[in-house]
């Protein structure tokens, strides 16, 4: 199972419907160990739904998702029977999730947020958990903020604490849903920096993002989601430069136009 060629995460024909709204229409994806996959696509194309399905925060209702070879969320596929919560948690234990809205618990300090699951789930003693928690906060550059409450931290700092909280559980796969979209522009860099370091350390990552620069620089694979399908997938260079796909070209053109606007401003003589 730890064979290098066996993907950590496999999606086969994954579908998800909200009422009559078929959001995912048969998604296939393999994520290899240490691979960084960036998911891009227009708003409402189902990126969040897809990523949340990988953590079974959404119950995908077609197809199969396997994590480290174990079926996620379902005990059986036909008929679909939900797995027990303990079974679900066992499969989920190899993944860490980072949300757009951070979702830190406001009544606990940064260190408290990181230690909580170490104590309650991993069964560490309080002092062991704190040692580990401080190491994790140090890793995201926030050692000195251990005792601060989330309300006392900037958005960028909160997101780094959230990353530390997920990392503390030693996942083999990290999922990010637009981790920098709720941040003021000047705070985006510090979070992306932490994620770059993670990627460099060999973490397997699936990242929903609008940061095309990050995707181009860090991703091994970029997947373009549109209308509930992955319509294009490949190395960043193929996706960003050589694509023939009209929807993808149009999508990227919007970004280029925006950048061109800034470029024009810079080049306009004062």
């Amino acid at each position: 199972m730890n064979d290098v060629t066996t993907p950590i995460l496999t999606l086969r024909n994954v579908g998800k419907r909200f009422g009559t709204n078929q959001v995912l229409k048969g998604v296939d994806l393999d994520v290899q160990r240490s691979e960084v996959v960036c998911l891009i696509g227009p708003s409402g194309s189902g990126k969040s739904t897809l990523l949340r399905s990988m953590a079974f925060l959404e119950e995908y209702d077609e197809g199969e998702i396997h994590i480290n070879g174990q079926l996620l969320g379902w005990q059986s596929i036909s008929p679909r029977r939900r797995a027990s919560r303990s079974r679900l948690n066992q499969v989920r234990s190899s993944l860490g999730m980072v949300f757009q809205q951070f979702n830190l618990w406001p009544h606990m300090s940064a260190l408290g947020n990181v230690c909580e699951a170490l104590v309650r789930v991993k069964g560490l003693t309080r002092s062991d958990a704190e040692r580990k928690g401080r190491a994790m906060l140090d890793k995201v550059g926030l050692a000195e903020k251990a005792d601060a409450f989330p309300a006392q931290l900037s958005g960028g700092q909160q997101q780094r604490v959230a990353i530390a909280r997920a990392l503390a559980m030693e996942p083999s796969l990290m999922l990010f849903d637009e981790p920098t979209s709720a941040l003021d522009p000047e705070l985006v860099g510090e979070v992306l920096q932490v994620m770059k370091q993670l990627a460099a350390d060999g973490m397997t990552m699936v990242v929903v993002t609008h940061e095309m620069g990050f995707a181009a620089q860090v991703a091994d694979t970029v997947a373009f989601l549109d209308g509930g399908h992955i319509v294009a997938k490949g190395a960043p260079r193929d996706i960003f430069h050589d694509t023939e796909h009209p929807r993808l070209q149009q999508f990227l053109q919007n970004y280029l136009d925006r950048n061109a606007f800034w470029q024009d401003l810079k080049e306009t003589p004062a």
């Binding site: 953590a55 925060l57 919560r85 948690n89 989920r92 234990s93 993944l95 860490g96 999730m97 949300f99 809205q101 979702n103 830190l104 618990w105 406001p106 009544h107 606990m108 909580e116 699951a117 309650r120 789930v121 601060a148 409450f149 989330p150 309300a151 006392q152 959230a162 909280r165 997920a166 559980m169």
Partner: protein, 221 residues
């Protein structure tokens, strides 16, 4: 009109005993009400339809029943169903059941005030449902629901006056007894009011102190 202090000073002991009984039934009733109410709220939210529907009905029926009627049913009607209770037990139980549905509604609102993402974060970290309720949801909703809880608790304090009708010797029973015995209604009713004021003042102060304590994390440095 003469205000005869001796009517009260001669009977300090029974009055204090009445106050104690009021406090005890109130305290025990509130405790049962809080536990039951939390249970009802949790089961309603997470228990699925087959629990939600009967629990909703239970809440609606109890809310539509005056406390007096509930007590009568429990104390005088109970034996018909093989449930013979001491007055004090019936009083505490009645108070607990009566309060529980109001507490349940307050807790339900509290659970809904916690962002869904905070629960999802706990889930993704492998925390169990109960761990999540106890460690993530309850502490942060407490700041929001404490005023409503304290409010309900003070209402229940005054509802203990009704317990006199099932012969529980609480403050109202003791003092109205003294009143009709001595015809000193003004003195006894005044002391009665002071008695409840003391209890309610105590609970609101405790509430404010708790509010400050549990709300500390909201303060920006």
């Amino acid at each position: 009109m003469m205000f005869d202090v001796s009517i009260i000073t001669d009977r300090v002991e029974p009055i204090l005993h009445g106050l104690l009984v009021t406090f005890q039934t109130w305290f025990a009733g509130v405790l049962i009400g809080l536990v039951l109410g939390l249970g009802i709220a949790v089961l309603q939210l997470f228990g699925g339809r087959w629990l939600r529907i009967p629990l909703r009905m239970f809440i609606e029926v109890i809310r539509a029943t005056p406390f007096l009627v509930l007590l009568f049913l429990l104390y005088y009607g109970g034996p018909e169903f093989g449930l013979s209770l001491e007055p004090i037990t019936a009083g505490i139980l009645g108070m607990g059941v009566y309060g529980s549905v109001y507490f349940a509604e307050i807790f339900r609102g509290g659970f809904q005030s916690v962002p869904k993402g905070h629960v999802e974060a706990a889930e993704c970290l492998g925390m169990g449902r109960w761990q999540c309720i106890w460690r993530v949801q309850l502490p942060q909703m407490l700041v929001i629901i404490l005023p409503a809880l304290v409010n309900m608790i003070t209402i229940l304090c005054k509802e203990t006056a009704v317990l006199s009708i099932i012969t529980i010797p609480e403050l109202t029973m003791v003092l109205t007894g003294i009143g009709s015995e001595t015809f000193a209604f003004v003195e006894t009713l005044l002391v009665l009011c002071i008695g409840y004021l003391i209890l309610i003042e105590l609970s609101s102060r405790l509430g404010l102190w708790l509010e400050r304590r549990v709300g500390r994390f909201l303060v920006r440095s």
